[in-house]
Symmetry: C2
């Protein structure tokens, strides 16, 4: 069973927003054994929408469309679909009632343009949208299914989880896809490949191995396709074990989780607590950690000590240290990490201080210079990095480096 995703809206094509919907949808579809063949982003333009629909139906069984269902003039998806399938728009009474209730609940007057949200092509099945006014629409075209959903992420997510996925599962007996991910850190892509080349050679043709490098990590993903789900799982597990044994020192996790989640799991197992002291990463490490449900079991909190004054008052960094060595130095970052352990009363802490850019660099400490320290109650370990001249990259790379340093430190410290 294959699907394609079509996202409609100029905002993606001019680079104003990043298309996060598609990745989320693809992950949901994969979980239930539907492989996504292509993701296509196009503009709010009838002709192009029709062409994308033609092309998608030539390749996939299920076409999921998001976007272009708003009440304003730039949204043309519904009218285009009605024309494409040769249907006329009729008012859907249950939806109209829902839209009326929606506005009544918000205590807002309702406009004619909002009533029109309840108009749907007469040959589609209306899929209820609990959280918004534009319903989703399910079309059947020969043996293809086409589903149009709003592009607002949380509306789309609810519709996918509560309506679309269950309805698709009811309908098909699907081929399975089994994925297994091994997260590694500290060894480059080609060196990993070299170390496991014989294992890779021995894979049957229905099992693929992919290398997904990101900053200082490489994610290895085995994917198997077939109808015998349990047999596939066993086989994938077998090859995964071979790989893990081979590159053990670099393995962070044997499931598809992030580095910070692997750290949270490890620390929770050992009953340890963590805090952060961030300067140039500006809260990004805290954000990465607190994205994860249950992170509060390990993570007590931290300081975003952007100014030197806060480095002193919140973390207890010595004024003299700042004066002698500067904010971006081994001495300061070590005091930040030690101060976090002490003042936030945690077992471990990570601290980062650097020059994210674009300004603030000097010949001695150019933009991209970052000091990172990890501490527990007994010791502090600091390391120097030189990243790029791009602010966003420096923030991301510093965060990944800090988490990697903490993970390696924990591996040494823990039994």
């Amino acid at each position: 069973m294959t699907a394609e995703i079509i996202t409609i809206g100029d905002e993606i094509l001019i680079g104003q927003i990043v298309d996060t919907n598609s990745a989320w949808m693809a992950a949901q579809l994969n979980k239930v054994g539907i492989a996504v063949k292509q993701i296509t982003s196009i503009s709010d333009e009838a002709k192009h929408i029709a062409q994308a629909l033609d092309e998608a139906q030539s390749r996939a069984d299920i076409i999921l469309i998001t976007g272009g269902l708003g009440p304003t003039k730039d949204d043309v998806t519904k009218f285009t679909l009605a024309q494409y399938f040769n249907m006329k728009l009729i008012r859907h009474e249950a939806t109209l009632k829902h839209v009326e209730d929606f506005f009544a609940k918000l205590n807002r007057p309702m406009l004619e343009v909002n009533c029109k949200q309840a108009d749907v092509p007469d040959g589609c099945t209306v899929v209820f949208n609990k959280y918004g006014t534009a319903p989703a629409m399910w079309f059947e075209n020969n043996d293809k299914i086409i589903i149009s959903m709003p592009g607002v992420p949380f509306e789309m997510m609810h519709i996918m989880e509560e309506e679309v996925i269950p309805k698709l599962l009811d309908r098909f007996n699907m081929q399975s896809i089994v994925h297994k991910v091994i997260l590694t850190a500290g060894l480059g892509e080609s060196f990993l490949a070299e170390q496991i080349s014989d294992i890779e050679e021995s894979l049957p043709d229905y099992i693929k191995l992919a290398y997904l490098p990101k900053l200082a990590q490489v994610r290895l993903r085995l994917s198997a396709y077939g109808y015998q789900k349990e047999a596939l799982e066993k086989e994938v597990e077998h090859f995964a074990n071979l790989i893990v044994e081979r590159v053990k020192p670099y393995v962070v996790a044997t499931e598809d989780i992030t580095l910070e989640k692997a750290i949270l799991n490890l620390m929770e197992q050992h009953g340890l607590t963590l805090s952060t002291a961030e300067s140039c990463t500006g809260g990004y490490i805290a954000h990465l950690i607190t994205q994860h449900p249950g992170s509060s079991a390990v993570y007590a909190g931290g300081g975003v000590t952007y100014s030197n004054a806060l480095k002193q008052s919140v973390l207890g960094v010595n004024e003299q240290t700042l004066a002698n060595y500067g904010a971006v130095s081994e001495q300061t970052v070590s005091e930040m990490a030690g101060g976090a352990v002490k003042h936030f009363n945690t077992d471990y802490a990570i601290a980062v201080s650097g020059i994210a850019g674009p300004d603030g660099g000097t010949p001695d400490k150019p933009v991209g210079t970052v000091w990172i320290a990890v501490a527990n109650k007994n010791q502090v370990k600091a390391k120097h990095y030189l990243f790029s001249n791009k602010r966003q990259q420096n923030i991301e790379r510093a965060a990944t480096a800090a988490l990697t340093l903490l993970f390696m430190f924990l591996k040494q410290e823990l039994p």
Copy 2:
């Protein structure tokens, strides 16, 4: 002049990563007047790559491809392009030298697989990749240009900025696209549309108006297409002014910036400082703010006070307040905001405390309950919100709500 972007790699199609490259590339292309017609994500599969290339060339003048150039077996882009254009691979000596230097600099041994990074189809123009081992490749096919680049974001970004965009500008005399964005907060999409419907009706057909709602904000975007750039700019400015006058109370910015950037600009103009006190948003607000170059002029820092202990020690929240009202309450969040102003010594502070979920909800305070406060030295203003049952959404919506509350508060306070 039109372009299409093709991203190659299974990791996007299984939802493992979000495609951030395309939005960035689209924004760069737009800036120089190249309109992106479609963004397509496909798998590492020769047949599908060839099909996507055919389709893209039927619609656009320039095709930009990213991904699939790594040294490992799952990467097939280069071989597919060679076959597609009927070329054979030859070793490119300048690239080989660069790869050798690259490994020498890292003090790492070089593998045969790394040498192969220097093999390129014999009919392409090699585009130098300063930051990685896989060069980009520029193909000419009849009147179409096809450029293949690595998918690693910072390598692609450098190649685009330093090589591809300048070369395209050299080559073409391009039609301009003029965009103008008005960021609004506090009024729904359809109400905005109702208020400005006559202005929208009066737009000439080469100027489009789009509504981009996100959380509690709506971004209005005027886009004009044509060869007379200056005339277009004037005309777009004229219509933008009409809209701004009409919906003035809701206008946050008249340029394409984020809410937090508008706040930073406003506060910097008035010489004001800001701090944050975050519980459920876990550093996300600090991260949004510190993404922006120069944010340190306004932002002193903040606390990510996940635990109650840190709410007391870092922000000075009263133990009794936490005991009587709980961490998620008007009283606690007000003390957090007031405490941040005092302890971080800033003019303004925002504080957030809520239940992001998925666990931790109670009948009185279900998941999605969030209290937000804004404070300066004279007063504190707190507001209650109820968002969704999804953790990531709650974090994002709480951050946006907090920034909106701060912006409205600043607008009232400032002359």
